[in-house]
């Protein structure tokens, strides 16, 4: 049997983390969580828009699901730290996904600023999950700084292009002490399964679920894919070869 995933002293049965962005209606969020089994979900913090709605996204997240506020909107480590402190003071718990983005075309995380923010927040008793471009030396620095996990991207946020950084993520999986959570770019259940077969500890999926025609059913599909991929990893995948390896006896029928 599989053991639970431990991050920052919390234990997760489901290795699928989800996000609250881009749902056509927030009512999908609790349905998606129920169908997928996901036990951790991201939220963002923003200035209220004048005269806009005051819907509270937290109202749609059932009790028992761990909140993972992100620092989206931060362009520097300092801004990320400020957002993290606000989220914690507002009662969102100790988890924080550090997301510092300066590149607006590909939304690539700024690894340098992310490391700086991790160093500060890990000292303040946050459970820090930095969202990064997969870079092994950086991942080791994040570990040393006290990150509770590392979250390398598969491909650009919302691009649904899957594991374009596959080989780089494999280096992290092979060498990191902390859990590796593949975040961003996973566009279909088979890609989530692929990440888990590689030995990723978890995946974080938002766009692919939230923008599906039926987000609850897609959540369930991802939940199953993550479990299937995980079991495939634990059961040790068989090797590949260029030529056939007969699975029936090779002797002629009547020999």
């Amino acid at each position: 049997m599989d053991e639970k995933l431990s991050i920052g002293g919390h234990f997760f049965t489901s290795r699928l983390f989800t996000g609250t962005g881009k749902f056509a209606a927030s009512e999908w969020i609790p349905r998606m969580l129920g169908a997928s089994g996901s036990e951790m979900i991201t939220v963002a913090l923003r200035r209220i828009d004048q005269g806009g709605t005051t819907e509270n996204i937290l109202d749609f997240i059932p009790e028992g699901v761990v909140l993972l506020p992100n620092t989206s909107g931060a362009r520097t480590a300092e801004e990320a730290v400020r957002i993290a402190r606000i989220a914690k003071a507002a009662g969102c718990g100790n988890f924080i996904k550090i997301e510092v983005i300066t590149d607006m075309k590909y939304l690539m995380p700024d690894n340098y600023e992310t490391l700086k923010a991790t160093e500060i927040l890990a000292r303040e008793d946050f459970i820090v999950l930095p969202y990064v471009l997969p870079d092994l030396p950086l991942a080791k620095r994040l570990e040393d700084a006290g990150a509770a996990a590392v979250m390398p991207l598969g491909s650009p946020i919302g691009s649904n292009r899957g594991l374009l950084t596959r080989d780089l993520i494999a280096m992290l999986i092979e060498n990191c002490r902390v859990p590796v959570v593949v975040d961003a770019g996973i566009g279909r259940p088979s890609q989530a399964a692929e990440a888990m077969e590689m030995g990723a500890d978890a995946v974080l999926v938002n766009t692919a679920i939230a923008t599906a025609e039926d987000p609850a059913m897609m959540g369930r599909a991802f939940g199953l894919a993550v479990e299937a991929g995980r079991l495939g990893y634990l059961a040790r995948l068989a090797g590949q070869s260029k030529t056939a390896r007969a699975s029936s006896p090779l002797t002629g029928f009547l020999d």
Binding site: T20, A44, L45, I48, N56, S72, I86, C92, T207, A210
Partner: protein, 67 residues
């Protein structure tokens, strides 16, 4: 008395009052609101206790969907 305070990055001239009065005056639902006042979070129960003064900086925030 009129004061100028900075709300979400913009200077606003308004009557002096508490945070609670400002929130109510804007028709905001308190449950969804996070108030940062001069760099620190003010709990909802304390909104009636904080009197806004000239030059204060307020951020009115809420949690939204994000990945």
């Amino acid at each position: 008395m009129e004061i100028v305070i900075r709300i979400n990055g913009k200077d606003e001239r308004r009557k002096a009052g508490t945070i609670a009065e400002l929130v109510a005056g804007r028709g905001l639902a308190p449950g969804s609101l996070v108030v940062e006042y001069n760099g620190r979070i003010i709990k909802q129960d304390d909104w009636v206790k904080v009197m806004l003064r000239q030059g204060d900086e307020l951020e009115l925030l809420n949690f939204v969907g994000g990945g």
